[in-house]
């Protein structure tokens, strides 16, 4: 089981996440898909750390988790305000700004 399979998995996770962002309508689910893409990169980082034998990758993974956490804070705050003013968290309702 060479380490490349982990990379294929990470790439797969990334594309699933991206597809989720495009397809799903609910803001929370879209946001979760973005988190999935971030974790895919985490997996890639850890695999590369193992391949290169250096721990930089793992350090980077920590940072991504911290950043992901901050993003959750900010993201959910925005989604909640949208939900409270519109009573729906659907991404498609937000189309006042167009053309």
């Amino acid at each position: 089981m060479s380490l490349d399979y982990y990379l294929y998995l990470s790439a797969l996770l990334f594309t699933i996440g991206a597809a989720g962002v495009l397809i799903r309508r609910n803001a929370i689910v879209v946001f979760m898909c973005i988190e999935l893409m971030l974790n895919a990169s985490n997996l890639a980082f850890v695999t590369f750390a193992r391949m290169n034998g250096s721990i930089d990758g793992q350090i980077f993974a920590f940072f991504t988790m911290v950043v992901a956490a901050c993003e959750v804070v900010v993201g959910l705050a925005i989604i909640v305000t949208i939900y409270r003013s519109r009573r729906s968290a659907s991404v498609d309702d937000a189309r006042l700004l167009k053309l």
Partner: protein
């Protein structure tokens, strides 16, 4: 050898200054305008006479006199000085222009007395005199060109003098445009001269030709260009359509410009460039052909015209055809052309003034069918017109006989088939001239009165008859005076070196006496036909009969010259203009506006991609990402 004199510039300056004075003077000069104009013309005539006498005083070889004024244009080695040249050829013209001009000025005082714009008329006449003098006194083709177009402008102003009538304004415009077509030829000639000989002055070009610097092709093109110019100005075939309509101008104008001076400018140009035509045989042949065609063309139209002025105009066209024909017959022809030009100047101007006084009497009626039996009511006009008539048809003692006869003679001597054809054309022309001139005489002065109601012809005042009388005397004596001992030929020989070829010993197709006899028989035939048709109480219908031969109908419409010009140039021109206007609007401007509207459409199209859906933006980002991935993959292969 060149003798300089300070007087030449006054020839031009006096009339020019007086024209400016009269024009700028405004209403204040109305009462005295005509006198200033006439004085200016007489002063110019006086200067001309003084110069002429001074010239006679000098030995033949240094008779030419020049007066350099200032360098006009000087760029690189294109150097044109504004210098004036008076030699034997130009002195004839100067005297003709100022002499006949002064007479016509006097005539106009009376003729235009009722017109409130008389001052402006005299201003234009003086401007014309000045321009014509500049034309004949210029020492280079370019200064000739200035006079050339100046004269064109003067004729435009004078033909369109009463331009409140639209037809007269169109006639003026038509004349100017036709002259402009000719001027194209002249400017091309100047360019060819500059390129071939590096100079545009007559002497420079002459030396260049003698030195043989150029190819015959260049010389022939130069000759043809000069011919085109002459044709434009002297209303020769094919640019003759404007002369008929030019009669819209007052009669003194027709007398001065369209009989004596301007229309002969073409003959002057060809004679002045004799060194070109002598060396360019093809061009010379064309000159002869043009002369012959116009000769017949004018004569035929003359027969069909009922308007007295249009008839005289057609006859002028035909007589100038004679002169052009003569200039095309080699060195000897120039002198005879010149002589015919001078004599024609006398009798044609006289006849036009006669026609003017007839119209004056018949309150401006021009249709000869409304005249008849006027000889008793206008004796002096009848006498002077009659003498002119006798001169033009070439009755021996009168001027026309000497000059036209010589032209017929040298036409016959042109040698071989060419001589016979030309000779017969000139003889046929003489016959037709005799016919239509007699027709004019008979319809106007003889036969039953066909006046309109309220017409009571009376003799013209003295101011009009005196010039007519002087001109009549001229048309009687001029021929004899010029011909005595070939005085005129010898006077001009240094210019045209016609002396060496010795007009005497050349072998003749027919001895001179036989030629004169032939000419007289032709004239007799013409006169008798005219008398048969119009004389002895024949009833001349007041309205032109319509059941006439096709030939007469066509001749009445000026041999369809206007229709020809319109269908060939005017109408296609107008269509092209309309088409170009549409193209400019639709295609070019449309293209510019099109670019604008396309960008706007693309803009609103692209604007719609901004749907407002977050997911579509995300889609754009993914598409972009995939695009870049693919690009990098491709780039790195």
């Amino acid at each position: 050898m060149n003798v300089t004199s300070q007087m030449l510039v006054f020839l031009i300056a006096i009339p020019l200054f007086s024209a400016a004075l009269l024009l700028l003077g405004g209403r204040a000069l109305d009462k005295v305008g005509h006198i200033i104009g006439t004085l200016a013309s007489t002063a110019a005539f006086a200067v001309g006479v003084i110069e002429f006498l001074a010239m006679l005083g000098r030995a033949p070889e240094n008779r030419a006199v020049t007066q350099p004024l200032f360098t006009w244009i000087e760029v690189g080695n294109f150097n044109v000085g504004a210098t004036l040249l008076l030699d034997q050829l130009s002195v004839c013209f100067v005297l003709l222009i100022t002499g006949v001009g002064t007479l016509i000025h006097i005539y106009s005082i009376a003729y235009m007395s009722h017109d409130k714009d008389r001052r402006r008329f005299f201003a234009y006449l003086n401007f014309f005199i000045a321009a014509m003098l500049l034309l004949v006194l210029g020492d280079s083709y370019l200064s000739l060109y200035v006079g050339w177009e100046g004269v064109g402008l003067a004729s435009y102003l004078l033909i369109g003098f009463w331009n409140q009538k639209p037809t007269y304004a169109t006639a003026a415009k038509k004349a100017f445009i036709a002259n402009r077509v000719g001027d194209v030829g002249l400017s091309l000639a100047v360019m060819i001269a500059f390129v071939q000989f590096g100079s545009v002055s007559f002497s420079g070009v002459a030396e260049g030709i003698e030195a043989g610097q150029t190819s015959s092709l260049a010389l022939n093109t130069l000759g043809l260009a000069l011919l085109l110019a002459a044709v434009g100005k002297s209303a020769q075939f094919p640019l003759q359509a404007w002369l008929g309509d030019a009669m819209a101008g007052p009669t003194p104008v027709s007398a001065l410009i369209h009989a004596a001076t301007m229309v002969t400018a073409g003959v002057y140009l060809i004679s002045r460039s004799h060194f070109v035509f002598d060396a360019a045989s093809v061009a010379q042949l064309c000159v002869v052909i043009v002369g012959a065609i116009t000769l017949l063309f004018g004569a035929i139209i003359g027969m069909a015209k009922d308007d007295i002025k249009k008839a005289l105009a057609a006859s002028t066209m035909s007589q100038i055809g004679y002169m052009i024909l003569a200039t095309g017959l080699g060195p000897v022809g120039y002198a005879f052309a010149m002589m015919h030009l001078l004599t024609h100047g006398f009798f044609k101007a006289g006849m036009f003034l006669g026609a003017g006084s007839v119209m004056h009497g018949m309150n401006d009626e021009v249709d000869m069918r409304k005249y008849g039996g006027l000889r008793k009511y206008m004796p002096i006009t009848f006498a002077t017109f009659g003498l002119g008539y006798l001169a033009i048809i070439g009755v021996p003692p009168f001027a026309g006989f000497y000059s036209k006869d010589k032209i017929i003679e040298i036409a016959l001597d042109a040698g071989g088939a060419k001589g016979i054809i030309l000779g017969s054309i000139t003889l046929l022309g003489a016959a037709i001239t005799a016919f239509y001139m007699s027709r004019v005489m008979l319809m106007t002065f003889f036969g039953a009165k066909r006046w309109e109601a309220g017409a009571h012809p009376h003799e013209s005042p003295a101011l009009m008859t005196i010039p007519m009388i002087v001109l009549a005397i001229g048309s009687v004596s001029a021929g004899f005076f010029f011909n005595m001992g070939d005085r005129f030929i010898n006077f001009l020989s240094p210019i045209f070196h016609s002396g060496e070829s010795g007009h005497g010993e050349k072998e003749h197709l027919l001895p001179p006496i036989v030629v004169s006899a032939l000419a007289l028989t032709a004239v007799a035939i013409g006169v008798s036909i005219a008398i048969a048709k119009y004389g002895r109480g024949k009833a001349i219908p007041a309205v032109a009969p319509s059941d006439v031969s096709l030939w007469t109908k066509v001749a009445r419409r000026d041999l369809l010259q206007d229709e020809f010009n319109e269908t060939l140039f005017m109408r296609p021109g107008q269509e092209l203009t309309k088409a170009l206007a549409v193209i400019d609007e639709k295609v070019i401007d449309g293209a510019v506006r099109g670019v604008g509207s396309i960008t706007l459409d693309v803009a609103s199209g692209l604007r719609k991609t901004q749907t407002g859906f977050v997911r579509s933006y995300a889609l754009w980002i993914t598409v972009g990402a995939v695009g870049i991935l693919a690009a990098i993959a491709v780039m790195s292969l």
